[in-house]
Each structure stands twice: as structure tokens, then as C-alpha cells.
């Protein structure tokens, strides 16, 4: 198995490639890659768990929505995920519990969104382009 995630060049943006043993683990690794774009080295302590329910219309849209949910939570509440657990995909919904914490410093850069461009989603490999 290679790195959990790698950041790939994209002219105006950044692409995160993540691998994992199953859908939930790979998704968590994409999220970790996204956090590595936001913070060169993130330090945040666990504060609480919260259940997340994401709805979409297929697996790809669940992945994009999950990542955008994290970006929204960061901007609206100042929280980042520090702990991921197993995910349950139930039809067009994804349910998981995320441990959230407050980062010790500000993000180095802003991500506007996770996009659908060049999106690859399998259980073990995902590639997502983020708009910076």
C-alpha cells in the first residue's frame, strides 16, 4: 500500500489522490489530504463527536458533499475533523460519526470547494480536484 494520500499538481487548483482498504477509509484519507492543503501541519485536539448524515444522488456526489460539509463546518464553526469512523452508505445517504476539534492556528489557504471535475471514486482509490 502506498501513501494514504498524495497532492497532485493541477494548474490553478490541487488534486488529492487517496487510497484505502475500503470506501470509508479512502474517504477519510481524501479528507486528510484536503486538511493537508488547508494546513501544512494541522494541530487540533479532539473536542466532541457528532453524527454526520450526507445525502447525494450517487457515490461520487456523497464524496463531494462529505468534503464540502467539512469545509462548511470549518468556515461556520471553526472546527476540523480529527477522528473518522466507519461510514454507512444507505441508498443515497452516507452516515458516519466524526470527531471534531479546534485547530491551534489559522488555515494557510482557503479551499472554495471540492469539485466534480476529474473526480474518481472507487472503494480503494479516490481523486478529487479542489478549487482554491
Amino acid at each position: 500500500m502506498g501513501e494514504a494520500f498524495t497532492l497532485l499538481d493541477h494548474t490553478a487548483d490541487v488534486k488529492v489522490r487517496a487510497t484505502g482498504p475500503n470506501f470509508g477509509a479512502t474517504l477519510a484519507n481524501v479528507a486528510r489530504g484536503m486538511l493537508a492543503v488547508l494546513y501544512d501541519s494541522l494541530s487540533a485536539h479532539f473536542e466532541f463527536h457528532r453524527e454526520l448524515e450526507i445525502t447525494g444522488y450517487d457515490r461520487a456526489s456523497l464524496v463531494v458533499s462529505f468534503l464540502n460539509e467539512i469545509l462548511y463546518t470549518l468556515e461556520s464553526e471553526g472546527l476540523v475533523p480529527v477522528e473518522f469512523s466507519a461510514v454507512r452508505v444507505d441508498g443515497h445517504a452516507l452516515v458516519t460519526t466524526v470527531g471534531w476539534g479546534r485547530p491551534s492556528g489559522p488555515a494557510l489557504r482557503e479551499i472554495k470547494a471540492a469539485t466534480y471535475h476529474d473526480l474518481k471514486v472507487t472503494d480503494t482509490v479516490m481523486e478529487v480536484v479542489f478549487d482554491l
Partner: protein, 485 residues
């Protein structure tokens, strides 16, 4: 590294290259890229040209999928992309506007000559940096409750001026008078409203900036004079957009559009091009929310204009009025609008998407402020923070060919990861200082990513634009002081 693009680019006139509609099954029109021969290698270095071909698949697209000379690889649309769809049977695509809805630029003139500020740039830049909140997640001093935010979304620049953030004539000197008709706050999600509420009057991060520059050269005296510009004059540029509110509007709409694509049986080569008919519930709701976000962006730039005026006047011990800090113009470069053009001899109402492209209306157009109408609309083209920016003017050729559009900036050539690897922010700041540019940035990392070498040379971009005739050169600006988000 990114794969190079080896598709067909056929010469199609001065600084024009065509991707024939036969290149890819499903293209409804050809692609046209405006660029000089010297720029082609850079354009082929990534997949931006493929994105031009992808946009040509949009239902109802008219004439051609266009790309301006600052074309570079985006997501869905290329940056620098322009696509017009017929409102009768065409679509509206949020990816053709982007996440930073109505990201745009405004230019303020002054009565100051460079010698009046040259030795004070350090103080000027520090004072502006303090006066205007910038950086990731920055929050402003304007507190908005829900009814007030609704008024911002409906009225744009006019709201800000009425609150005391600016002068009455500022509104006339904005594209669309700083307020896009059709905005409906009810179409904006509560999430977008929550993100927008604390951020009005903030610069943001990334490539957003405030720049104090000097007019180094005037190419077109008549146009420059109409715009109130002359050689050696100090000017100020503000580049920002709709902040988290706009990002959320786009994110929300792509979820809706993803479903709409199946509902309306639309076939697309890239999911980021998800769209819906202009005349559908999904299309109309998106336009109403997009217009509201556009108005937020105009209000945002207007509030910052007020603070720039206050800060500069305080630093220089005078008043904004004595400094002659008038707004020359404000242009949007990520937006969709309904505009009328002749198509095949008949007048058509089109939905013109500009994704990293500037409206460039030619002389005589009724939507240009009366003072500029004879010469054409000011087209503001910021470059990188080390070299130059330009003012151009709109032309009749743009009206005939590009739906009144031209380039919007330099266009990146280096990815952010590449530029960060090769350049240190602190060294860059010292280097720019030795070249006469004072820079303040939120962080050294974000500064490094915006290094001049990460961008195409904007001079090459505007020269190709000028040679193509879709906007022509008026003045060249050289940076003196830059605040990066």
C-alpha cells in the same frame, strides 16, 4: 506531471485558433482560443483546451465555445472561458461561473503623482493591510442581520453607498450599476447566508489583492483621458468576490444541477459542467441565487473601497475627496448574464457565461457609463504582483465575436504546489522590495503560491488580446504596493 493536450488547433485568423466541432463527438459548436502562436505551447501543457471542447457540448450553445488568451486549466470550464447559450433552448451551468461568483476587479484613480507616495509605500501598505480584513476566513466589521443581508443581496453596491460606504457616482461606474436584476435572497440557502453574514468587507485569500500602482505608460490618450487616467498617476485596484456566500451558492447548485442533468436527459463529458435549462425551475432558481451572490460581491468591493479611501486619506493627512479617489470602473469576471446579440441575422437573448473573462462592451453600448460611451468600456486586467496590470477598452470586434468579452488576468502556468516548492515567501517579499514593490500578505505560504513566475506574463496576454482586437490597450500599470489575502 499533467498530460499535454495534442488535439487539433487550426489557425483561424490573427491570434485565433479553432478546435473543430468534429474533434469530439457531442460538440455542438467549434472551440475558438484567442492566443498568440508563442502562447500555444503553454496552452497545450495541460488540459485547458480539452475543457474548451467539453464546454462546446452544452445544449443551446451559440456560435462557439470561446477561450480568452489567459486560458488555463480550471474545473469544468477552462479559466478564461466564455459560452453563450440561447435562453429559449439553452442551459445555465454553475461551473461556467465558478465558486467565486462575481469575483471581479475595480480601479480607483487618484490625483496623486507617484513622487507623492513613493517614499511612503511601506506606511501606505501597512495602513491598508490594517484597514481591510484579509486572509483565510477573515471576518469584517459590518454586522448584518437577516433583513439587512437580504438588502445587500438585492441591491448590491447601492446598498453599500446608502449605508455611507462610498459616493453616489460609484454605482454608475460599476458593470450592471453594481446590482444584477433578478436576484432573490429566498433562493439563497441558509448555509450560504450564514457564511456571508460575517464576511462583508473582507478581501479573502488566494489570488485576491489590493494593489497601489502607478500608470507607467498610456497607449491610448483619448480613452485614458475619458477614464481619468494619465502617466505617473497613482491608482488603486481591488480584486475580490462573493466570499463564502458565493462558494456555498455554487456548491448548493451543483447538487441540484447534478440531478437536473438526468431529469432533462443532458449528456455531458464532465460532471462539473452540470446544468439545467435556463427556463426551468432549477435554472431560474440558480440564476436568482447567483445574482444575489453577485450583488454581495459588488457590495463587498464597495465597502472595501470606502475603507481604502479612509485609510489612504488618513495616511496622507487629507480627505478622499482631495485625493480624487474616484471609481474608474468595476468589472465582474465570474458571472452569467442575459445579454442581446444578433445570431444568424436575428436578435437573440443569450445567457453569457464568463468564467475568468471580463465583459468588454464596445463604443456606443447603452450599458456603458455616458462618460465612457464613446470610447468603450474599461476592461481591467490585473497581472501578477511583480510585473504589470493593464487597462484596455472594449471593441466592436468583441461585440461581433466574443459576446462582448475579453481576458481577465494573467492566467496561471504553475500549479500552487509547484510554486510553493520552488519559492519561499520571505525571499519573494525581499526580492519584490528590491524591485520596488512593497508586499504584505496573510502568510508566507500563500504569498509564495502567488509568485509572479506562477503566472503567464500578462503583457503577452494583453498583446494577444489587442492583436485579436477584442479589447485594445489603454494603459499599463506597475505595482508599488500589494496586499495579498
Amino acid at each position: 506531471m499533467t498530460a499535454t493536450w495534442s488535439g487539433p488547433l487550426e489557425p483561424a485568423g490573427e491570434c485565433r485558433w479553432q478546435i473543430p466541432a468534429s474533434y469530439k463527438a457531442g460538440m455542438r459548436v467549434p472551440g475558438i482560443i484567442y492566443a498568440s502562436r508563442a502562447m500555444i505551447d503553454d496552452i497545450r501543457a495541460d488540459q485547458a483546451a480539452e475543457q474548451v471542447a467539453n464546454v462546446a457540448h452544452l445544449p443551446g450553445i451559440v456560435r462557439a465555445s470561446l477561450a480568452m488568451p489567459d486560458i488555463h486549466w480550471g474545473y469544468g470550464f477552462p479559466i478564461g472561458g466564455v459560452a453563450a447559450t440561447d435562453v429559449r433552448d439553452g442551459v445555465i451551468a454553475p461551473g461556467g461561473i465558478g465558486y467565486d461568483i462575481n469575483c471581479g476587479v475595480r480601479l480607483l484613480r487618484t490625483n496623486l503623482a507617484m513622487k507623492a507616495v513613493k517614499d511612503k509605500m511601506e506606511t501606505v501598505v501597512n495602513d491598508l493591510f490594517r484597514a481591510i480584513p484579509s486572509g483565510v476566513g477573515s471576518e469584517g466589521q459590518v454586522k448584518l442581520d437577516r433583513p439587512e443581508l437580504d438588502r445587500v443581496l438585492t441591491r448590491g453596491s447601492a446598498w453599500a453607498v446608502e449605508q455611507g460606504y462610498g459616493w453616489a457616482e460609484d454605482v454608475e461606474h460599476c458593470e450592471e450599476s453594481g446590482s444584477l436584476t433578478g436576484a432573490d435572497p429566498a433562493a439563497v440557502s441558509s448555509r450560504a447566508l450564514k457564511r456571508g453574514s460575517p464576511q462583508l468587507g473582507t478581501l479573502g485569500s488566494g489570488n485576491h489583492f489590493i494593489e497601489v500602482s502607478v500608470i507607467e505608460e498610456v497607449f491610448d490618450k483619448a480613452a485614458a483621458s475619458a477614464y481619468g487616467l494619465e502617466t505617473s498617476q497613482v491608482v488603486v485596484m481591488i480584486h475580490s468576490g462573493s466570499r463564502g456566500l458565493g462558494h456555498q451558492v455554487c456548491t448548493d447548485s451543483l447538487e441540484v444541477m447534478g440531478k437536473a442533468v438526468s431529469k432533462y436527459g443532458i449528456k455531458l463529458p464532465d460532471r462539473q459542467l452540470a446544468c439545467a435549462p435556463v427556463k426551468s425551475e432549477e435554472g431560474e432558481n440558480y440564476f436568482a441565487a447567483m445574482a444575489a451572490a453577485a450583488n454581495y460581491a459588488w457590495a463587498n468591493r464597495q465597502v472595501m473601497t470606502h475603507w481604502v479611501r479612509q485609510a489612504l486619506a488618513k495616511t496622507l493627512g487629507t480627505t478622499p475627496e482631495s485625493l480624487g479617489l474616484q471609481l474608474v470602473y468595476d468589472v465582474a469576471h465570474n458571472i452569467a448574464k442575459f445579454e442581446d446579440y444578433p445570431v444568424d441575422g436575428a436578435a437573440r437573448r443569450l445567457c453569457v457565461h464568463r468564467k475568468g473573462a471580463t465583459r468588454a462592451f464596445g463604443p456606443g453600448h447603452p450599458e456603458i457609463p455616458s462618460r465612457y460611451r464613446q470610447v468603450g468600456q474599461p476592461v481591467l486586467v490585473p497581472g501578477d504582483m511583480g510585473r504589470a496590470s493593464y487597462v484596455l477598452k472594449g471593441t466592436q470586434a468583441a461585440m461581433r465575436e466574443t459576446f462582448g468579452s475579453a481576458c481577465h488576468g494573467a492566467g496561471r502556468v504553475m500549479s500552487r504546489t509547484e510554486s510553493k516548492r520552488g519559492i519561499r515567501g520571505s525571499e519573494l517579499r525581499r526580492r519584490l522590495l528590491s524591485e520596488g514593490v512593497v508586499v504584505r500578505a496573510g502568510s508566507d505560504a500563500s504569498l509564495a503560491e502567488e509568485a509572479p513566475e506562477a503566472y503567464k506574463d500578462v503583457t503577452q496576454v494583453v498583446e494577444a488580446t489587442h492583436r485579436a482586437g477584442i479589447a485594445t490597450l489603454v494603459a499599463k500599470l506597475r505595482p508599488l504596493g500589494v496586499i495579498k489575502g
